[in-house]
Structure formats: C-alpha cells, structure tokens
C-alpha cells in the first residue's frame, strides 16, 4: 500500500483521542453504538423514501412525499454515522488503510452511494408528485437500497479479509 497512506494512518492512530478510545474499556463500544445509531437513522430514512418510490407496502395509501420531510433527519443520521465511523477508523487507521474491504467501502461504494443518494434526493420530489411513479424512480430506489447493502457487506467483510 501507498507509503504516505500508512504514514497518515500511523499519525492518526497516535492522536491522543484515538489512543484514549483504544485504551478504554467502554469508549470503543460506545463509539461503535454511535456509528450504528447514526447508520440506522441514515439507512432508515433512505429506506423509507426508496420503499415509497418502489410503491411497495399498502396499495391503498397514496404515494408519500417523504424525501423533503426526511431530509434533515437523513443528514443528521449521516453526520452521526460519519463521526462514529471516523473515530472507529482513527483507532486502527493503519490496519484499515491496508484492508481491501475497507478501501473498497470508503473509496468506491460510499462515494457511489452518496452520488446516487443525492441524485435521488433531488429528483424524488418530482417523482413523488407524479400520479404514477416513473420506472426510473423504482430502479433508482432499488439500486440505492442494494448499494447500501453492498456498503454494509464490505464493512462486515473487513475482519474476514484482514
């Protein structure tokens, strides 16, 4: 792996806050729980919109115009998840930066997911107003859910490939 990345990882994991988290019995799991709580809000608000676009659920209910209203909570969840994720990363940055599953997750899957997410967020208000959800909206909604599932897959695989 690129030498400068490893030097950066080494520097990061020796920051006082990273050492403090690593050295404490309770801090690390609490940071993990923070990451997961943020992810729940992030993925949950995404799923609510995508599921609504897919039109699944009760047929009798009209399409929901959710994307605008969930926007703030969506990004609050993202901010919590990134904060928790960054702290987890800091604790063993050097190891993560040489882990192919982590690099794929952070370098490829998350950027892709974010691009698709922002596109959906911009288009969703129009899609949601249409009397019939356009096919492209359904494809986008399904693709986004699958893409975040891939992100979770890469995350779970980090210890398996490390």
């Amino acid at each position: 792996m690129d030498g400068s990345l490893v030097i950066f990882g080494h520097w990061l994991q020796n920051r006082p806050y990273a050492l403090a988290i690593a050295g404490s019995d309770w801090a690390y799991p609490l940071v993990q729980a923070t990451h997961f709580t943020g992810l729940s809000i992030w993925i949950g608000t995404i799923a609510a919109v995508d599921v609504s676009l897919l039109g699944a659920g009760k047929r009798s209910t009209p399409p929901m115009q959710l994307s605008d209203e969930l926007l703030i909570w969506n990004w609050i969840g993202f901010a919590i998840a990134v904060t928790g994720g960054f702290l987890l990363f800091s604790v063993s940055a050097e190891t993560y930066l040489t882990n192919i599953a982590f690099l794929t997750k952070l370098g490829l899957l998350i950027p892709l997911g974010l691009v698709l997410h922002v596109v959906i967020q911009r288009k969703a208000p129009a899609w949601e107003k249409a009397s019939e959800t356009p096919p492209v909206a359904k494809v986008a909604g399904l693709a986004e859910l699958l893409l975040w599932l891939c992100v979770a897959t890469a995350a779970v695989l980090i210890p398996y490939v490390g």
């Binding site: 019995d25 609490l30 992030w42 979770a152 897959t153």
Partner: protein, 161 residues
C-alpha cells in the same frame, strides 16, 4: 433445560456449518446489521412523527401503515439472522449477562412498537398527540438505542459473538 437446548443448537451440524463457514457466517452478519438499520431507522421515523418532529405534512396513520410492514419484515430478518448467530455459540451466550440485557431491552422495545402501531390512528384523530404517546415515542427511541449499545457491549466486554 435451557442450557440443554443451547448445547443441542450448538451441536446441530447444519447450524454449525452456517457459523463455521466464512461466507455464510458473513452473510448472516450482513443480514443482521442491515435489517437492524432498517428496523430501527423506520421505527425512529414513526416515533419522530408522533413527537411532531418529522413529516408533519404526512398523515400519521398513513405513514405508520406504510412503514410498519417494513418494520416487521426487517424484524423477521433480524430475528432469524440473530438466532443463527446465537446458535453458533449458544452455550457462551447462555452464560452472558449482557446478552440477556440486550434481549430484554429489545423485547420491551418491540412491545413499545406494537403499542404505537395499535394506537397511532386513535392518537391521530385527537387534536394533538397525547403526552403519554410522546413519552412512549421517546422511550421507544431510547430502548432501540439501548438495544444497540447492549448489542455492541456483548462482544466488547465478554468476547462472545
């Protein structure tokens, strides 16, 4: 008796293969995490709607009707994958106090979900959400966050999982 069942589960060759094979064990974990995110996230949206913090242009009953099938669907996946993970080291979980805490908190959280689902249309007909509904929504969010904290503490403090 319970320990007996735990031993039997752990020695069950089918369950042992699932937990002993890297890719199936990883797949089970992925399902467990992802279904948890959807389950907790959607439930938090319903709770926030009861609290009046999200989706006020949405009808609370319709929002709940739309999201609850997905909440229960995710719970089914979450339970099944969680059970498979449990079965692989059942006797270790049997002796694990924090695991009991996690199950207890999760169970109460599920009961809170059920109450919200049952009552939301009634609350929705009132001029404002009643105070105890809002309290229940706050408790529900707290319980799910508590379940997540207890969940990460199981491997962190005891090395099981």
């Amino acid at each position: 008796m319970l320990l007996h069942i735990c031993r039997w589960l752990q020695d069950n060759s089918f369950l042992a293969v699932i937990n002993g094979t890297a890719w199936t064990a990883a797949a089970v974990e992925i399902v467990h995490y992802f279904s948890m995110f959807i389950l907790v996230g959607l439930m938090v949206i319903v709770d926030l709607r009861v609290l009046g913090l999200v989706g006020l242009r949405q009808d609370a009953t319709q929002l709940a009707d739309r999201l609850f099938p997905w909440i229960w669907g995710s719970l089914a996946f979450n339970f099944l994958s969680g059970f498979l993970m449990f079965a692989g080291s059942a006797t270790a979980y049997y002796r694990n106090d924090i695991f009991y805490d996690k199950m207890g908190v999760t169970l109460v959280a599920i009961v809170a979900n059920i109450i919200v689902q049952q009552k939301v249309s009634k609350w929705n007909q009132l001029p404002a959400m009643p105070a105890w509904a809002k309290l229940l929504a706050v408790v529900s969010i707290g319980l799910w966050v508590g379940a997540i904290i207890a969940g990460v503490e199981v491997p962190a403090l005891t090395g099981v999982g």
